[in-house]
Every structure is written in C-alpha cells, then in structure tokens.
Symmetry: C2
Amino acid sequence: MQDEATSAPPPARARPNLAAVAALAGVSASTASLAFSGAGPVSATTRAKVLAAAEQLNYAGPDPRAQSLRRGRSGIVGVVMEDRLRDAFRDPVNIAMLDGISDELGTASLGLLLLTEPGQGGVDLSIAPMDAVILVGCSTQLDKAVVVFRQRGIPVVAIEAEPMPDVLAIDLDNRDATARAARHVRQLGHERVALVTLPLEPSHARGVLTAEREAASTAYTVRERIRGAREVFPGVTGVVASASLVEEGLIAGRELLSSADRPTAIIAQSDLLALGVIRAAEERGIRVPQDLSVVGFDGVRIEGADAYELTTLVQPSVAKGRAAGRAIVELLEGGTPAPSGFRSELRIGNTTAAAPR
Amino acid sequence: MQDEATSAPPPARARPNLAAVAALAGVSASTASLAFSGAGPVSATTRAKVLAAAEQLNYAGPDPRAQSLRRGRSGIVGVVMEDRLRDAFRDPVNIAMLDGISDELGTASLGLLLLTEPGQGGVDLSIAPMDAVILVGCSTQLDKAVVVFRQRGIPVVAIEAEPMPDVLAIDLDNRDATARAARHVRQLGHERVALVTLPLEPSHARGVLTAEREAASTAYTVRERIRGAREVFPGVTGVVASASLVEEGLIAGRELLSSADRPTAIIAQSDLLALGVIRAAEERGIRVPQDLSVVGFDGVRIEGADAYELTTLVQPSVAKGRAAGRAIVELLEGGTPAPSGFRSELRIGNTTAAAPR
DNA sequence: CTGTTAGCGCGTTCAC
DNA sequence: GTGAACGCGCTAACAG
C-alpha cells in the first residue's frame, strides 16, 4: 500500500486536516472523526488505517479551535483577578483561592485562563473564548463585561463581589467577621482604634481614609470590612494601603503611630498588613500587645512572623476557591448551584491585649 | 424599513448570530462583520443600523470561538508549570516570572492559560486552543506534548528546560552560578559541605540524594545546580526537599545537622530552603554563619528573614519571564527570536563565613 | 461602500 | 460499520 506513497513524493507539507487523513486512509471524514474521538463504533481495522494515515501525514489530531466551534465549548474558564498579577499573587490568600479553583477545574478538565481587570492593558474580557468566568474580588467596573457574558450565556461566578444580577455569589462574612474582631478589641478596653485598609480604588492610592474616598470606592470587600468595624467603633477611620504587603503595613503603621495620641489598637485588613504594623511598632519601641493591639485578617501562615501569634480572622480561602470552581462546573453541566457564604473564625493570638492604663 | 420587524414579533429568543443581526439590519453578513470589527470601510449609517439591530436582538458581538477558527488564532498562550499551582505559587521566584510573562503577553493582548504538567489530572495539554506555549521548568516528560505542538505549528518556548529540538530556550546559568557559590564556600575553607536540593522527581519525594535518584531524574534545573556544586566539591551530596518551602528546608536542615560530623556549609537550591536550614540550625543552637554557612538561590526578598542577609545567587526572574513572553510574541508575529541566557549574581550576605576551627 | 461566494476544520445527523 | 451531507459562526477575497 505504500508503493504509491514512495513513488510520489508526499505533496502536502501544509498542515493536514481530518479530511486529508480520511482521504489517505480511504474512509470518509466522519469515520475518521469517530476513530479519533473514540465515540461511536469503528472497526479496529478502520481505526488502525486512520491512525496510520494520520501518522504518515504528521497529523496531530483534531484542531481544538474547530472543536470549540463545533461543540460550542472551549473548555476554558476565565478567572478575572482585580489586580496586576504581581500584586495579587503576593498575598497567600489569593494563591490559596486560586489553588482551590484550579483543583476543581482541573478535575473537570477545564483550563484556567488568567485575566486581570481591564485598564491594566490586558486582554479584552469579552473576546476570549471562555465557557464561564470567575470574578475574584472584582469591582463593579466590570458591569459591562458582565452584561456581555450574560448575553453570551456565559455563566459568571463572583467571589466576594457586590451582588450583581445573574451572577452566582461566593461570599465571605467580611462585615460580620470584622465586627467580631472589633468587639474583641473593645472588650479589651480599647477606645482609640484605627484601621489599615486594603486598596479602595483601582489606582491603589495610598493615604488617609476619607469619607469621600470611601463613598467613591467600588471595592466591596474593603468597604464591608470597614462597615464591620464601624458597627463597633462608629466613627473609626484610618489609612489606606496600596497593596496587601508587609511593606505597606509598615508604612501605614508608621503613619498611624507617629501621632501624639496614637491608637492603642489597629485593625488591619490582612495579615500581611498587620505584620507590617507590628514592625512599625517595633521600630518605635512600642510593644505589641502591651502598648498596641493588632488584629489581622486571613489567617495565613507568614514566614518569619514566628515571634507573634497574630490575632486574626481565619478565612477558608481554599474552600472559597473550590466552591467557585465547583459551581462553575455545575453551571456548565446545566445545574443550578446555590450561592454560598463562608465564615471566618476569630483566632485570638498574642497580638491583642487589654488597653494600656 | 422597520415596518415588518414591528408587525412580526421578534421570534428568535435563542442566541442570535451575526447573520441574524445582518438580516434584521438589512445588510449582508460581511458588512455586519465589518461594522463590528471596525476594519474596512463602512458608512456611519450602516454601522448604526447594524448596531441598533444588534442591540435589539441582544447580540453581544462576534463569537470568539468562531473567530478563532476563522482567523486560525485563539489569542491564548499556554503556560505549563511543573508543579501543582499551590506549590509553584508558593515560591516568589515563580510568581515573579509569571508576572514578567503576563506583562508581555498582556501587551500583545494575549491571554494566559495556566496549565500544569499532566499526571496531576489537569487539562490534556494538546487539546486546548492555544497559539503558543511556554514551558516553565518542565521535565522531559513533555516530549509527546511537544511533538504535538510541533505538528500543529504551535511555537514552544521553554524556561530552564533540557534543550529540545524546535523549542526556544530561555536559560539560566544554574550550573555556573552554583559553581561560583560553591567556590566562594570553598575559599572560606569549608570542606564538609552538603546540598539541599529541589524535588528531583514529579512525585516530590523527600529523602537522601542518591546516585540512582539523580540519574533517574528529569529535573533539569536541579541537576544542573547539583553539577555546578560538584565542579567544586566533586563528591558532594545531601538531601532532596519535596518543595521550595521554608518548612522543607527546616526538615532537610534537621536531617543534615543531626549527624555527628555535620557539614560546616550547606548549599540550598532556593532561598526558602536556605531559610529553613537556618531555622534548623537555630533550633540546635548552631550559629549562622560562625558554625554553619548557608547559601541560597534566587535572591528573593523573604518576609521575616530580616535577621540575616542571605548569601545567595540573585537571578533575574522577572526578566526571564519577560524574555519568554517577548519571544512568544515575536514567534507569533513570524519572527525568529534568538534563545537567551540569563546570569545570576552571587550576592554575599552574612550567612557565610570562614569554616570553624 | 456593500453584496456574493467560499470556505476555516470538525461533529453529527441521517440513510445505507 | 460506514458514507454523504449539512452547518457551527464568522471573515477574507473578490465583484459590483
């Protein structure tokens, strides 16, 4: 059977397609398709012929792009992160969540397309061939994108985002949890309390937490946590960090601790920020927790924070990610998963104590 | 022109397509296509008509999957990481690299599809609709996948991988750099030296570094670094960690430091491991660097390692990522970028000193 | 400026 | 078991 092939030089050097393989194998395209997909009944002989032809033509198998079109599925799930990746990945909490997501998606053989909010010059969100989308802590700026997704029939799951119509929410008790921590602080007798918040705007501007900034912000998680603190300390204010980093906590801490009547307790919106605050205190000889109580959020293990057992709100990051991934899978299978809410636990360490004097 | 449309109720509630929009707008499909893509000359009137029709039908714009097929491009670049994401992202070096990659890809409006090596139950590598692939520190187990990519004409760039045909290499001087560090250690008079290596096998098995394991391993970077150390300390051996984590360094350090004639210097293959080793020494009251010299690799800033300025090899992680991303973009534009090699710099800190006695 | 004509490469009905 | 035909939704050529 190879006689002709050897006599006539293999002509097509271009990318072969299924039809070419089928032709060389002497079968129809549909048969060849079945031979590859494994679905449907194909005789062993025929399959072997097809495979041989494929090998001869250097055919790699069905084209994923064409499959996507035909099947109406690309097998890709977009994960939209709020920040630049370099910022997002610096916080262990995000990594843990992503890990949970990827775990569930991987199980369903779904790929994970990493995207960032527009404005940072990434891919146009509505143009990528995705079957579903997970929004991670995204601002409401994504409204337009969400509309497009809905028009396309692309299911959307949002982790800790402002409730949006037709978007399945995976939520965290940011407000309640912060209120619980604040209550703990108040019970210790603290009255001069300050906040160190995560970024309020996409610009990641550092600075004082003003009423205007707060009102203008679209950062759901940040606002919820602020509100939680206000439930206990109504007028409480503080400073805004530009990212969830120890370094940023340090800067914020210096700011807060330099004033004459400095706070006796600081509620930080992440463990990294809290650790930075502690460093700032150390710099000034302010003892934690004797002179200053510090509360964090997340409950991540931070290398090098061994000296302290941070009082913090332990949130189930991986579980959150898993829930989102699971929900996506169910939605793609036509199911109707329920929104879910996760709870953070206050873990009291040795960075909070009775207010001085 | 709208008369008929208003008399007959809008029938199709199903997902509209370009043809439907064109029909309702009273233009041809190709014209409608141009109206959306913005390419080609379309009169303002026509465009408006098309857009109005689209809005009326709730049409979200061209289907990305169909565009992919037609254009032969999906706009997606796969990034294959060796480990589970949870492991990979725990090391700042990988995050930095990914950041460099995503920066360049974002500039070219390319999406980043996160994949892991098969075996961990992820997506079948050859089935995702990717335009190009970046392999990050991958083992040679990807041979088959690489063959498929080549057949498909999908360009492949590999960061720190065993050289493979038709794969553009972005390399790091793992061997030379380690040799330089080892020479520094020898100059300080050390003779009893041990290694703490990164995982040698996909299984991430912890344990002693044996000749068999080493020979069987496909972990390019790890082997290169071992070889570099051997150039200076020919018979040197040590232990294998199961991941690049402080915790793992701690375990490895305990192992190495428990023996009677313990090493006076330990060369770790990452800063995280090195920090763990230092912790192990602290546990036993072994002073660093007086009693034990420790060398790392990467030059990342680790929170909480303030007490020490680690002697380490500073590698340009972000630049590596950028180079890979840039190469991909050039390859997709039909260019032929040259392979590149990056150099690590030995940064001498205060964790190495003259050998004791 | 706009319409017509062809496919991109594949999967999926149906008949036989 | 297998083949023939059709269409997924869009866009690149040309023709007018």
